[in-house]
Structures are given as C-alpha cells and as structure tokens.
C-alpha cells in the first residue's frame, strides 16, 4: 500500500505530479472518462480499490490564525500498479469511483518514461485548458460587477 516515491521525489517531479493529480481531481468524471477513452488501457493491478471517505476541511480563525474544523467533504481515492511497476494514485472530491480508477491509471502512465508526453499532451493539457477557460469566464463575469461607491457630500455650505 505504501508507495516508495523516492524516484519521483527527486528534481521537480513531485511538483509536476501534484499538478497532474490536481488537474485530474478538478476534472468532471465525464471529462476524465472522455480523455481516458483516447488511451489504450494498460494492464494494471488494483493496489487499493476505489474507496470513498471523508476529509475534514479546516479553516483558520480570522483567515490566518489557528486552524479549526469547518466541515467534511466526500473524497474518493484509488491506487493502481502497472505491470511495468509504476504506482498511480488519485484523490478527488466527490464519490465517483470510475473517475478515481481512471485518474489513478493516468497518474501511473504519467510516471512511465515513454508515457508521460502522451499523457501531458492528450489528457492533462486539454483538461487544463477547459479548466482555465471556465475560471477565466468566472473572472470576466465577476469583473463586470466591479463597483465604485461614492460618498455623498452634504451641501457646500
């Protein structure tokens, strides 16, 4: 169950992998499934079945102070191992087990030396693109509601 991530802990790989996993987590199950279909699925073993559980989300008092418990979120995670040895993991909000499994497989493929480029190009980049577009739309719509209040001055005298 524990993964020896020493090989991926070197250089900036952890940060890159974190981004890949974050992109997959942020994607809808439909979007992950759609990208997953473009792959030729590899042989893998389930190290940890897709499993749904809870994570208690924390906030900070006043925004920057000591932590407190805000409330829980549902999270689904999964771990797979490719026949070539790479272990892939997924963690994402929600309860979708298919997405968890597919994301873990994608994460594992991303770690293979000959698979990474294809995963980046065919899966991560398009998912990132649509996520950025969605964010940009929110920003643009929000910006149009920017307000300037003026304080009224009572008379001149």
């Amino acid at each position: 169950m524990t993964e020896n991530s020493s090989q991926s802990n070197t250089d900036g790989t952890v940060e890159a992998r974190r981004k890949v996993m974050a992109t997959l987590a942020a994607a809808s199950p439909e979007a992950v499934a759609e990208r997953y279909e473009t792959l030729s699925p590899p042989d893998y073993d389930l190290v940890r079945q897709p499993e749904t559980g809870l994570v208690m989300v924390r906030g900070r008092m006043g925004g920057t102070g000591s932590p407190f418990n805000l409330g829980e979120v549902t999270v689904t995670r999964c771990v797979v191992r490719l026949r070539t040895g790479e272990t892939g993991s997924s963690y994402a909000l929600g309860r979708n087990k298919t997405k968890a499994l597919q994301s873990a497989v994608i994460d594992a493929l991303w770690q293979t030396s000959d698979g990474r480029d294809k995963i980046e190009m065919d899966i991560i980049r398009p998912l990132n693109g649509s996520q950025s577009t969605a964010k940009e739309t929110v920003k643009q719509e929000t910006e149009a509601t920017k307000v300037n209040f003026f304080t009224m001055v009572r008379g001149d005298n």
Partner: protein, 374 residues
C-alpha cells in the same frame, strides 16, 4: 422518557409508502432531477451542506429531494450518511486569500485594494416577484456582461488594517496544538474558539441569525461593521501519507465574513478594532455574517467585557445551535410516551384526590365552626 413500543409495523410501512407518493406528487409533472436541484436551488443545497456539515452537492440535492424540501430533515440525512464513511483525515487549512473570488464587498472601505465586486447577489434588488420565471420556457441562459479581469491580489481587509496596528491580529497559530473536533468528542465546556467556530459553522442559520440580531438590538452590543464578505472557490489540500506530499482534492465554494467590532484596550495594549469571524460552505452570507457576530460576542471574556446577553453565553449558544440535535429532541415528543404518561396520570389523579380530600375537610371544619357560631 421514551419507552420502546411494539406494533404499528404495517401502519408505519404504509405511512412511508404514502410519504413516497406525496413526495412524488402529480406524476404528470416531471420529477425533479438532482442536477436541477443542485443547479437551480443552490442556496438550499449550500444550507444543507453547511448544517449537515458535509460538502457534496449531489448528496445534498438528493437529501433535499428525499426530504421534500425540508432542509433540516435534509441536513439530518447528510449527518446520518456521513457516519457510514471512513475518515481519511484532515485537510490543510484552506487559504481564503487565494480564493477565486466571485463576490467581495466591504461596508467599511470604498476603495480597498483589488476592488469590490458584487457578483451574484440579491442585494440592491427590489424583492418584486419576477413573473417571467413563471413562464413555461425560461430555458434560455440569461445574458451577462463580461469585462477583462485585472489580475490583482485581493488581500483580506483585516490584513490591511492590521498593517497600521488598528486591527486586532489573528490569534497566533500553533500548528502543533490539537484542534478540537465535535465529530470526535462531544461538546464540553469551557469550549475554546476552535470548537466554537466548528459548532457555529454547522449551526442553524435561523438560530444564529436571531442571536446576531439580538446583539444589534442591544443584547450584548458589539457594534459590528461588515469589514469584508467574500465568496468563491478555495482549493482543498490533503497530505497523503503514502505519497509523502499534499494532493489537491479539488475546490469548494465558501463564504467568509470578517466583522469589525469596537475597540478594546487595556493598560498594556492600545485600543484596536476587534474581530469576529465567519466561514461557511457555499454562498450563505446571512449565516457567515451571523456566525461572525456570534463568534465575536462569545469572545467577551478574552476581550475583558461583561457578560450580559444570551449571545455571549457560550454554553447556551453552543448547546442549542445544532438543529439536528434540537429537532431530534423536540420531535421525539411525537413518539409514543404512553408508559411515561401513564405514570403522570397516576400522579395527577393522586394529587387531585388529595386536593379534594383537603378541601372537603376544610369545608367540614368550616361548616362545624359556622354551626357552632350560630
């Protein structure tokens, strides 16, 4: 006291079947989909997630559908569901300064860095019923304006005043100190601010609103200003032990409220503004504001204020804010209490018998006295 009863299985089963039929209503009307509820009743969904203390829009939509729109019942269903799941652990604290802001206003600063954005809001609307929404086909997406966003930081308003020393700083964070968790140990007193905030975050909106209102009307006045209210998406990060690094689980929508209140000061410290804090799931501004006001009220002791009002009474507030507990205790009165009531019946019969006996004796002795006088 409630004593278990037997029987009634068939009636109960039939009543539940009838509930299901009434829930569905007229079948010539299409059934609600969870997507419709999640998309179009987002404030109800947010309230159920907050008071159910479980962020999952689809589950909340299901709970609302099952509860026929009874939001406390829906929150109850969420709380019950969460007990069926394992706990993976605790997230890293969310960073609201990094929020993808959809709304950010301040009632204290016109020109705060990053500006004010109204976003989606009922504020400034005339509260006139919009009969256009009653039209059969309102499927067209309403048009909105867009503007190219300036990518500027939106610091928290309390950080700005903090620079001048006018604002009470946030409590110093001790990352190693244990954080109280109401889902692990039941509430006990005295309750520190971590427990108080968790309790308020899942507390009943109506109860907190009433308490906050009471502080405005003079019951424990704190003279609040809405320093900042912001709403939008924040990332949730979780340290995955087996990976050895923190993974981003996704984003949740939260509302944060910074209330700015009147000064405190002592021989040692100069007067500063004091603060109350509200943080809730979803866009639930009324509750975030109420939470911040009640949080501030309950800090009376630490700020050297007198306890004079219900909103300051930590034990009273925290013991009655949870609508799942409250509804459980109030609504259990509907269940059969026959044995209990039987005992009360015996008691009241006996008391009445004694009362009549005493009155008869008094009348007898009164008659005797009158006869003697005659």
């Amino acid at each position: 006291m409630y004593v278990a009863v037997k029987g009634g299985e068939k009636a109960i089963r039939n009543a539940h079947k009838l509930t299901a039929k009434r829930r569905r209503g007229d079948t010539s009307v299409p059934s609600l989909t969870l997507e419709q509820i999640a998309q179009q009743l987002s404030h109800a969904v947010a309230r159920v997630m907050g008071e159910g203390s479980l962020y999952d829009e689809t589950l909340a939509a299901l709970a609302i559908k099952q509860a026929r729109g009874d939001l406390i019942e829906a929150a109850f269903l969420m709380r019950a569901y969460r007990t069926t799941l394992p706990r993976f652990g605790y997230s890293k604290p969310v960073d609201t300064a990094e929020m993808l802001v959809e709304r950010r206003i301040s009632a204290t600063y016109k020109d705060l860095p990053g500006g004010q954005v109204l976003g989606p809001t009922f504020d400034y609307s005339h509260r006139l019923l919009d009969f256009a929404l009653a039209a059969e086909d309102d499927s067209a997406e309403p048009a909105v304006e867009t503007s190219p966003p300036e990518d500027v930081a939106m610091p928290r308003v309390t950080d700005l005043l903090g620079d001048e020393g006018l604002m009470e700083p946030d409590p110093v964070s001790d990352e190693t100190a244990p954080v109280g968790d109401l889902t692990r140990e039941p509430l006990s007193f005295p309750a520190d601010r971590d427990l108080r905030l968790q309790n308020l975050a899942r507390g009943d909106e109506g109860f907190l609103l009433a308490l906050a209102y009471s502080t405005q009307r003079g019951y424990g006045r704190t003279h609040p200003f809405a320093g900042e209210i912001r709403y939008g998406e924040v990332e949730v990060e979780f340290f995955a032990e087996e990976l050895g690094f923190a993974v981003t689980l996704g984003t949740i929508k939260v509302t944060e409220c910074q209330m700015i209140n009147q000064f405190k000061g002592s021989a040692k410290t100069a007067p500063t503004f004091t603060r109350g804090y509200g943080l809730v799931f979803g866009q639930v501004e009324r509750k975030a504001m109420s939470m911040a006001m009640v949080d501030r009220s309950m800090r009376f002791e630490e700020l050297g204020e007198e306890q004079v009002a219900p909103a300051q009474d930590v034990e009273f507030v925290l013991s009655h804010s949870d609508n799942i507990q409250a509804t459980g205790f109030v609504e259990h009165l509907k269940l059969p209490h026959y044995v209990d009531f039987q005992a009360e019946l015996v008691l009241v019969r006996q008391m009445r018998a004694e009362w009549f006996e005493k009155r008869r004796q008094e009348e007898d002795s009164g008659d005797a006295a009158q006869e003697a006088a005659e």
